[in-house]
Assembly symmetry: C2
Homo-oligomer: 268 residues x 2
């Protein structure tokens, strides 16, 4: 089982939409668990799950030692795709983490309670609990404790950006923080890469910002996600564009991204 | 002097860009102070100010009683336009606010130290300190203590949204929080309105989301801000689009918004 955090300090870059699309595509061949670590609960909503008080990630992180077990809040979405929902109460759970010793590793500890794929034949394994191949964590646009928990729990981090001038400073802050997490709290954290989103290769501004980032040795992925209103429309139908409009160019782009993630998981 | 907070829980909707554009246009006829309350420091950067450790809003909010005075961190941008810069240290200042009694009102108290416009003739007033007509606060995409401080300090709140499905849940969370602040911490806080951004009136999805919001009695303003890459380009020249490309349609739209704000200020 591997865990990937989808993170950006800059807001509105497509974190939730990417986590959802990747979850849907990867679940065609793997067992996937989505974790919504954003108090906005966008991922929870777009998956058609009602975010209910008392059974969300907030209860797992917030209540010191007698918090709920992660397995007790998991909701099914479709075959091979489940989610740990968020709730607005995550904001106060984040504040209550401040005073705890495991403030940065509460989510890693919770994910560690999930049963691992084992070598036992299926018959001997307790079938009550699903075994996940990959966990995808959606994060809020901040470097607060919820994002820190995601970075400490993750094996890999994917950073969506919009290639515009205002993205640069936030990206540098995030890359510095990831470097710090790798040196102190999670030496196993790997950079999967920086993914240009809302990208329009006809725009000089997008081209020049990407060139500037590459020149600064930012690990920009070969994949690109363009802009299409069908992506936003799909969300109002509680679907990802990959199922709502499979012929749309964006769907092909999310599938290319999923291929890159498959490759990354195989090389682990 | 009146204070306006530009706030949205949803990220990447144009908060920083609007605060900057409004600051530039309003400073043509008023004395304006910008306050950057986002640890990303986007507004600070786009104004061409170097965000330096030790002289930012972080020092004003973070250090309990012996914090720096607001007037000691103000930087000039142009005639009639100054800024209180942000710095990444605002993240830790936000955490340190958690344990203080005035955790929600630290910014309001800091702004209250600014000299008010007075009836004394100019000669008798201490010319060392500028008198501001309006304070504009840019906030991070979250409901944490920095945004709470902005809502408690503000007389009015302006909420940019992108009229898409994923915006709805976050908007409801923010409207509920504003309602709570009005009932408990700041009864003087008024709703200026919800401003559709990146708006394309040819898109059915944008139209139907706006209709849904109006039907739910969301106070949607008559102004609209469309999308144009010149807005993003202007930021790489440390300018607002209103000075970078004054003939661009977006510049006219930001001026319409500034008119609405002028009207709101006059009616106060
Ligand atoms: N490729 C795309 N083309 C067009 N619209 C998109 C695309 N990706 C996402 N969107 C839309 O843009 C908006 C922002 O996307 P999303 O909410 O996924 O970003 P985010 O980074 O998760 O935001 P936040 O910082 O608020 O968590 C949403 O309305 C979404 O539907
Ligand atoms: N009207 C517009 N047309 C085109 N691009 C825009 C427009 N307004 C803002 N932008 C660009 O969109 C991006 C997001 O805008 P901005 O950073 O102002 O949003 P924000 O709400 O402050 O984001 P955050 O939630 O990260 O603080 C920036 O790259 C900005 O230059
Ligand atoms: Mg999101
Ligand atoms: Mg901003």
């Amino acid at each position: 089982m591997h865990t990937i955090a989808v993170t950006s300090l800059k807001g509105g870059v497509g974190k939730t939409t990417i986590t959802h699309a990747l979850g849907v595509v990867l679940s065609e061949s793997l067992r996937v668990l989505l974790v919504d670590a954003d108090p906005q609960a966008s991922l929870t909503h777009v998956c058609g799950i009602h975010s209910s008080a008392g059974r969300s990630l907030a209860e797992v992180l917030g209540m010191a030692n007698d918090g709920m077990a992660l397995k007790d809040v998991i909701c099914p979405i479709s075959t091979s795709l489940d989610i740990v929902p968020a709730h607005r109460a995550l904001s106060s759970a984040e504040l209550s983490l401040v005073l705890r010793a495991e403030r940065d590793s509460a989510l890693r500890q919770a994910i560690a309670t999930l049963p691992r794929p084992s070598r036992l034949p299926n018959l001997l394994r307790k079938r009550t609990q699903p075994i996940y191949d990959v966990v995808l964590i959606d994060t809020p646009p901040s470097l607060g404790l919820l994002t820190m928990n995601a970075l400490v729990a993750a094996d890999g981090v994917l950073i969506p950006i919009i290639p515009e001038a205002l993205a640069w400073e936030s990206l540098q802050l995030l890359l510095e923080r990831i470097d710090q997490v790798q040196r102190t709290l999670n030496s196993g954290l790997k950079m999967i890469g920086v993914l240009p989103c809302f990208h329009d290769d006809r725009l000089i501004h997008h081209k020049s910002v990407l060139e500037m980032m590459r020149a600064a040795t930012v690990p920009v992925l070969d994949a690109r996600i363009g802009r299409s209103i069908s992506v936003a429309e799909a969300a109002s139908h509680y679907q990802s564009v990959v199922t709502y409009a499979p012929e749309n160019k964006r769907s092909a782009e999310y599938r290319v991204l999923a291929q890159i993630i498959h490759g990354w998981l195989r090389n682990r």
